[in-house]
Amino acid sequence: MSDTDPVDDPTPTEALREAAADGVDFDGLRVTRDDDGFHVAVPEASHTGLSPAAVDDAVERHRDHVDNWLFWHQHAPQAGAEWAFLRWVERADDLSVPERYDRLRDDGLSREWGQLAVTVRVSGDGRRRYGLRHIDDADDSVENLTTYTDPYEARRLRKTDDDGDYRPLSTAPTLAHGWAFVDLAPDAVVRAVEGFYPATVANWHREREGSLDVTHWHETVSRQTGIYGIVQTWDRGEGHDHVNWVAEACCADSQCLKRREWGYDDGTPLDVDGGAGVFPCREPCSMVIATARTWTRLESEQSRTYEFDLTPSEKEQIETIIDAVADGRVDEIRDGDTSDGANRYRARYLRAKLFDDEGNLCGVPTDGAATDS
């Protein structure tokens, strides 16, 4: 396991002497062994021809370099994606070992992963320990937060938002506040991150390695069967405006923190922005397919002409109401703010004035809507 009991570990000197036979070259630390003895070098200094006993002295002088090497080769999870993610968290590609350790001992190093703040520090025994919070809670006192140490609890915390409403989409920007994972081992913090945002680490890593396997809209809907098979009929060879609208509705950063990488098909990117998320979306998700099933039914209808008499303000008010629902703004509108077209009293007045007893706008019957069936 990656977080082994310290008493089972070789000393840093023992580990380094053993590794020297094959050579060490990691984050600026270089160690080799030949007939002249051991050679230990860091960017700031080098020592050659050391006896086995003298290696101990060099290790003590450059302890951060040696601890860093030991951590990444003995304590960090060795799976490629998890290793790369933890390296990214502490900016190992950008900061030198002395720069990193100064900050790891001080406030720690942090990264944002969706709405998560991942923080790493070095503890008294030289081990890295990780913390995880909502980015909005990053500066709160831990006493104000409910603390967790079991990373698998993240799977349950992701299920509801601050209002207790179910979140079927993990990467919706509605992560609940008020919790903190503390003192996590390196493998545990990855499990917690994956508990909040499943499979994001694996796909982020694939993307960095140039091997993200994107599945585009057309291919995804083409393999659907059962109640979702009908979505195939929505691709009618008449362009991909409908997919642009789906992506604008479901995949904008205001709705999902994944960065959409899929398009209509391999040669046809969508015309709407994929978002700025740190981790990619490699395929239309089950939420997108389920909503597309609804739209497939609705969009099978033909347009027809209705005539309504509206004042200019009434037309604008209907547009304001649609915007308010689409932007999730309804709960913010104050009862007393009747200047807002989506104010409840304003909407009730419009309904009282314009709907007939059957709920028809301006008394005009609908006829033939897919939602009637």
Binding site: T160, P168, E194
Partner: protein
């Protein structure tokens, strides 16, 4: 070689309880250390089936569907979404006897041992009996008591009913309950008429559903007349037509289900150690030799 368990469940966009059994049983199995990794994947939640295998480090993955019967999901959806080149004939099943098929997914370099659903495993019979014990609070329940094993049922797939009838038959053979019947929500014989199928005063009703949701908490209680309004809950026992109905709720939430999952993986060759039964179990004999 490292081994992982991937527990596959339906999940829901609407019901947060849908994934609770998968999560709970995964935690139980993780706690007994039977696998190097224990992960979940869902049709409607995350990680999706499409992204699941890449979250696993192990090179041997035992995929156990947390589904009740063989059918559309176990034969088509799950293998397709996991990118397994699977055909239902690979299981050589009579409808309730799927065990395992060993396959290579196309997106990761791993070996997948694709197991039959938990619902058709023989050990499920013990979970049904355990459920009857827990809902009545009587570890000896059976004498003079009727047991209704309830399934969804669908005319589109005969295997759906087979799984229910299979376990009802196995419980009946034990001779523990005065009467045992398989009843269904969407086909005959229907659970609506439960009291007509039993002479015993006490009837234990165990629905073979994975998670509690609309079907188990509103539909079936209302169909049986336990409540006028499904949203108001129901009494246990509830008095209906001169019978006491002991309605157990979805069997998938029973802690002993974790053992069925382990049995499925062990049957497929997983080295789960000697920890079956798990801590979830205390009295029952699992898969009692038959």
């Amino acid at each position: 070689m490292s081994e992982a368990l991937l527990l596959v469940a339906h999940g829901s966009h609407l019901n947060p309880q849908s994934s609770a059994p998968a999560q709970d049983h995964a935690d139980t199995i993780r706690a007994v250390g039977a696998f190097d990794e224990v992960r979940e994947a869902y049709w409607k939640e995350e990680p999706s089936l499409r992204n699941a295998l890449r979250t696993v480090a192990a090179d041997q993955v035992y995929v156990v569907p947390l589904f009740i019967s063989e059918g559309y999901f176990t034969e088509q959806v799950i293998p397709r979404e996991l990118r397994l080149d699977f055909d239902a004939t690979d299981w050589n099943s009579d409808g309730t006897s799927a065990d395992v098929a060993t396959l290579s997914p196309s997106d990761v370099d791993k070996t997948v041992h694709y197991c039959g659903p938990v619902g058709t495993h023989d050990a499920m019979t013990d979970v049904i009996v355990r459920r009857a014990e827990t809902v009545t609070g009587d570890p000896e329940v059976g004498s003079g008591v009727g047991l209704a094993v309830v399934g969804h049922g669908t005319k589109r797939n005969e295997n759906s009913a087979k799984a229910i009838e299979y376990h009802a038959g196995r419980v009946r053979e034990r001779g523990r309950f005065a009467e045992v019947r398989a009843l269904f929500m969407d086909e005959e014989p229907e659970v609506d008429d439960v009291t007509e199928y039993f002479e015993s005063d006490d009837i234990v009703v165990v629905p073979l559903f994975v998670a509690d949701g609309y079907h188990t908490q509103e539909d079936i209680p209302a169909d049986m007349g336990l409540t006028d309004d499904g949203g108001e809950g129901y009494a246990v026992p509830a008095r209906v037509d001169g019978h006491d109905i002991w309605y157990a709720g979805a069997i998938g939430t029973e802690p002993l289900m974790a053992d069925v999952i382990l049995e499925r993986a062990a049957d497929a060759g997983a080295d789960v150690g000697t920890d079956i039964p798990t801590a979830a179990d205390s009295t029952a004999t699992i898969a009692d030799g038959d």
